[in-house]
């Protein structure tokens, strides 16, 4: 399923003194069936970019193409729900966006509004909960009284339940402990490899992005600065530093070893793999 931005500009409060250009002439295509990461400093336009994807915002200029739907100021989408069923967005701090009094109601909200068949409902809810690592005992619990990690999982389940083809995670790791983060990485890999979903992640957690992404888009001040696979983008510390972004620890380590000792290490996604290499080298 194609996600393409053609000359997209978005201006908040256009034609007022509070006017703010959030995106300028964006031309971008996300990779299908891959984990795409959007990185950039705060206020660079990342969230605006994804909100254009399922017509929560409409571009001021240009068009966004999702599958066969064209989102632009000129044409109105006929079936907006069909588009939103394709693109599920897990917002930043999704736990602040609960509006139902039980976990079950929270998760089934999407199913009901998208008119899914009732016979499928119970199983779908149960499966969605299982995917995020929760069981049916949570169904009747109050979502507002869960721990932060559990809340995040329920929020993700409420999107997974209607099986969108594209899943967007906006800052999914904020407030998550080490184990929850590891589980999230597992879940994203599962969604990509087994269910062939297109994943888009917005994150400031560069190590998380490095460990999970295939394709990286760097945004700065509303413009796309760099796109490419993660080896070309995150593997280049000079570019990241130029845009005030942190360098993944694994890359930084390899970079320092190369710079100080002249030893060129192989590219490693994971710190543990890198450590194994070092032990092998030391032996």
């Amino acid at each position: 399923m194609e996600i393409k931005y053609n000359n997209v500009t978005y201006v908040y409060n256009d034609k007022t003194p509070l006017k703010k250009v959030a995106l300028k002439n964006i031309n971008l295509t996300f990779k299908e069936g891959k984990v795409n990461a959007l990185i950039g400093t705060s206020g660079s336009g990342k969230t605006t970019l994804i909100e254009l994807m399922n017509s929560l915002l409409v571009p001021t200029k240009g068009e966004v193409i999702v599958d066969k739907d064209v989102i632009s100021a000129k044409s109105r989408i006929k079936n907006i729900n069909a588009l939103r069923r394709k693109v599920g967005i897990v917002f930043q701090f999704p736990e602040e966006q609960f509006f139902n009094l039980t976990v079950k109601k929270e998760i089934e909200f999407g199913l009901i509004s998208f008119n899914y068949r009732i016979s499928e409902k119970e199983k779908r809810i149960s499966d969605a909960l299982k995917m995020v690592g929760l069981d049916d005992s949570y169904l009747e619990r109050d979502p507002f009284k869960l721990s932060n990690g559990e809340k995040r999982k329920v929020a993700i389940a409420s999107i997974l339940v209607f099986n969108p083809k594209i899943i967007v995670f906006d800052e999914p790791t904020i407030g998550l402990d080490y184990d929850s983060k590891k589980n999230l990485i597992k879940l994203i890999r599962l969604l990509k490899n087994r269910y062939n979903k297109t994943i888009i992640i917005i994150s400031h957690d560069i190590d998380f992005v490095h460990s999970i992404s295939d394709y990286v888009v760097l945004l700065d001040n509303g413009q796309v600065i760099l796109t490419g696979d993660k080896y070309d983008t995150l593997g280049n510390p000079d570019v990241l530093k130029r845009f005030n972004l942190p360098v993944p620890k694994v890359i930084e380590f390899s970079y320092k070893v190369l710079k100080n000792k002249g030893i060129k290490m192989g590219y490693r996604d994971d710190l543990n793999d890198l450590l194994k290499d070092i032990y092998r080298y030391a032996k």
Partner: protein, 251 residues
């Protein structure tokens, strides 16, 4: 999604009305409210519309913002109209009632669009300061009002987030049917209460750890000088109110 709601929004441009002292703007608004109460003919109401339009023109704020405010009143106006129709009230009285509603909202939106919330609080504190003589806690009242005003954009922002979350899951407030809109609004009530109480709790803690006390003497960040234009506007408003009161007493 809730961009059409203009309550508590400030529109920053340079105009005579923006430069007015918040106290004089509050006095003008209060006298205008008084004028609306005493204007009991359609002609008087038209004069008040003229005054409001004059203020709007002087504020350099695009008229569409005021139309948005009036648009948000449409259901209340319709309700008033139907109720008056059922109660068999004179048509002119119905019109006066409706125009009073529009005038009140229009004029108070001039105040909020041209004055930042912090300055409205300053103005209110000054406006209510004579009540200190009667041991009425004016500081406390002003603080409550300032927090309430400061929370309007925050609450709208939170509501917006929830509406977006609902939209992503199939209920779009903007494009759905009336039934779906009602579902969306109903679903907003519980989380809004919970989030607002949480925010208020955090704010109270943050104020307490910074040793906030209502009894401490405070100075204002802005100078807010009283200018000739302030005296001029207050004079016009108070004179008009006096004329209206005298006229209604005479009749």
């Amino acid at each position: 999604m809730l961009n059409n709601i203009m309550i508590g929004k400030y529109y920053p441009v340079r105009s005579y009305v923006h430069l007015m002292n918040p106290l004089s703007k509050i006095i003008c608004t209060m006298t205008f409210v008084g004028m609306c109460l005493f204007a009991n003919s359609m002609l008087m109401n038209l004069c008040l519309f003229a005054l409001a339009i004059l203020m709007i023109m002087n504020s350099h704020i695009p008229v569409k913002y005021f139309f948005k405010t009036i648009k948000s009143l449409r259901f209340l106006l319709l309700f008033t109209f139907i109720l008056n129709l059922i109660l068999d009230v004179y048509f002119e009285t119905t019109l006066i009632m409706m125009s009073r509603l529009i005038l009140l909202v229009l004029y108070t939106s001039i105040l909020t669009l041209t004055t930042p919330p912090s300055e409205i609080t300053y103005g209110l504190e000054k406006f209510l300061s004579p009540l200190k003589v009667f041991h009425i806690p004016v500081n406390r009242m002003a603080l409550s009002i300032s927090i309430a005003l400061r929370f309007i954009p925050t609450v709208l922002d939170e509501a917006n987030k929830i509406l977006k979350s609902q939209a992503c899951r199939g209920i779009d407030y903007n494009s759905s049917k009336i039934k779906d809109k009602l579902v969306a609004i109903k679903a907003l009530i519980v989380p809004m209460f919970i989030l607002t109480i949480k925010r208020a709790d955090t704010l109270a803690d943050a104020m307490e750890v910074r040793l906030f006390s209502i009894y401490n003497k405070r100075t204002n960040f802005r100078q807010n000088p009283w200018g000739v234009y302030d005296s001029y506007m207050v004079f016009i408003h108070v004179s008009l109110l006096v004329i209206l009161i005298v006229r209604s007493v005479m009749i």
